[in-house]
Symmetry: C2
Subunit: 271 residues, 2 copies
């Protein structure tokens, strides 16, 4: 239970202070933060809140969106990512989760978009490394390739990460995004110490009308979690195990209930 | 234009006879058939209709659904696939498109489901080969892994197909399912004469509430078709190029209009 982390998006209706209190009440060791609620609280106040509660920060969501072609938009994206890295450092987050971005509006040039992400990582990786923050490349489910992330598989994420020192660029293993991939388990073994974050979440069918909200509580969908956990641990991962759901029904449930279910399912299905 | 084929699902509102007439009016050389409308017309009558019109049959949809665990359900699936192979042979279809099936209800054993598909292919492949029909394994977009097909990438399809003689088992290259895959173009080169069918279709966002209906007319979505066509032709594919859309708006459009748009987009974007 000490490694279980609440990604604060799972209890979206809670403020940061409420989420921190909820984690403490539930006996969790860690919390995954998002930039927007941290900004609402104020960066220094947020860092103090979490530290005073004795919680670790498992990750900060999110940087990325690095596919813009237009020089001004690209410069703004790089500047925003540097700010996100600074925030991760101030919060003591070991990694910044990177959702790399989809195709620019109207573009069909997928290889071009991918090349621009790699190019931007070349600028951001040393900046992150110098501040003790790892960029955690998150392969997203292929259904988000057009509008969210042109990075879709763990193999592809590792091909990119391995161009940089392991201390600068790692990967996220998220069961929702990877569960279908026949290569996932093998690529987790390849990843070794590149695994910067392990996130658990179930894949629901039918997908809801907003496909971003198909991220369900463990046990509600199709994912067999234990092979993923075993592979991640066998690869040497010693970090936290984060539960990140985007789910209208979960968001309508009182936070303490969500955490109680999450703990139960974690013990039953994940570890 | 001689290689352009109408998959009859694109004009779902047309009967088989209407679709055949529409193809002839539009100057197409080929049609892709589905079992249900063929059965409505009668197998022999359908074969005669198409042959009398001077059209080739580019493919028959579909066999598959081979993941059942229960022996009775499994035997029925095998028997149904043998009937589908017989139908493809009677229609002169060079291949039977195989949608392999998703997880059985309540099961989370993805490796088990995949193993059962492979096992079933071992029974069906020689039967198909003896009748001059190729089983065309179709990797489906990963968003359908749970409920439609535990076969998700071209690499995985080729890993399976290569266990059998090339005359017995090939693969389908469908741009809707594969466009996101950073390995797709490379795997098409690997596929060579394993390519049994090439289907073009665009990927729309936002996905409609029924994600099966996100298959759009070329030019309406995110797919860059030419690199796929070039790779398929460079791999040595000499068969037809089939347009298969599942799309409520297209289905509400008069068939002759759909074919006119399809021809125009084919010339502008595909070849």
């Amino acid at each position: 239970m000490e490694r279980l982390s609440l990604n604060q998006m799972t209890t979206k209706h809670w403020s940061l202070a409420e989420a921190v209190d909820g984690c403490v009440r539930a006996g969790l060791g860690s919390i995954g933060l998002w930039r927007e609620p941290v900004a609402e609280t104020g960066l220094a106040a947020a860092a103090k809140l979490v530290a005073d509660a004795g919680l670790r920060v498992s990750s900060l969501c999110r940087g990325g969106f690095l596919t813009a072609e237009e020089p001004g938009a690209r410069a703004e994206a790089l500047a925003d990512n540097r700010r996100a890295i600074d925030e991760a450092a101030a919060l003591g987050a070991p990694c910044l989760v990177m959702v790399v971005g989809g195709l620019p509006a109207g573009s069909k040039d997928l290889p071009g978009a991918r090349a621009r992400v790699l190019d931007a990582l070349g600028e951001l990786a040393p900046y992150a490394g110098e501040r003790g923050v790892r960029l955690a490349l998150e392969p997203l489910h292929p259904m988000y390739c057009a509008d969210r992330a042109v990075l879709s598989t763990l193999r592809q994420a590792l091909d990119w990460a391995e161009r940089f020192p392991a201390g600068q660029v790692g990967v996220v293993v998220d069961t929702f995004h990877l569960w279908w991939d026949p290569e996932a388990i093998g690529q987790i073994a390849r990843a070794g110490d590149r695994i910067a974050s392990y996130q658990v979440c179930d894949f629901l069918t039918p997908l809801p009308a907003d496909v971003l909200l198909g991220r369900g509580m463990m046990g509600e969908g199709h994912v067999d979690f234990r092979p993923f956990t075993e592979a991640v641990l066998a690869a040497g991962y010693t970090g936290d195990i984060e539960v990140e759901l985007f789910n209208a029904e979960v968001w309508a449930t009182p936070g303490d209930e969500v955490l109680a279910t999450m703990k139960q399912r974690y013990l039953e299905l994940v570890v």
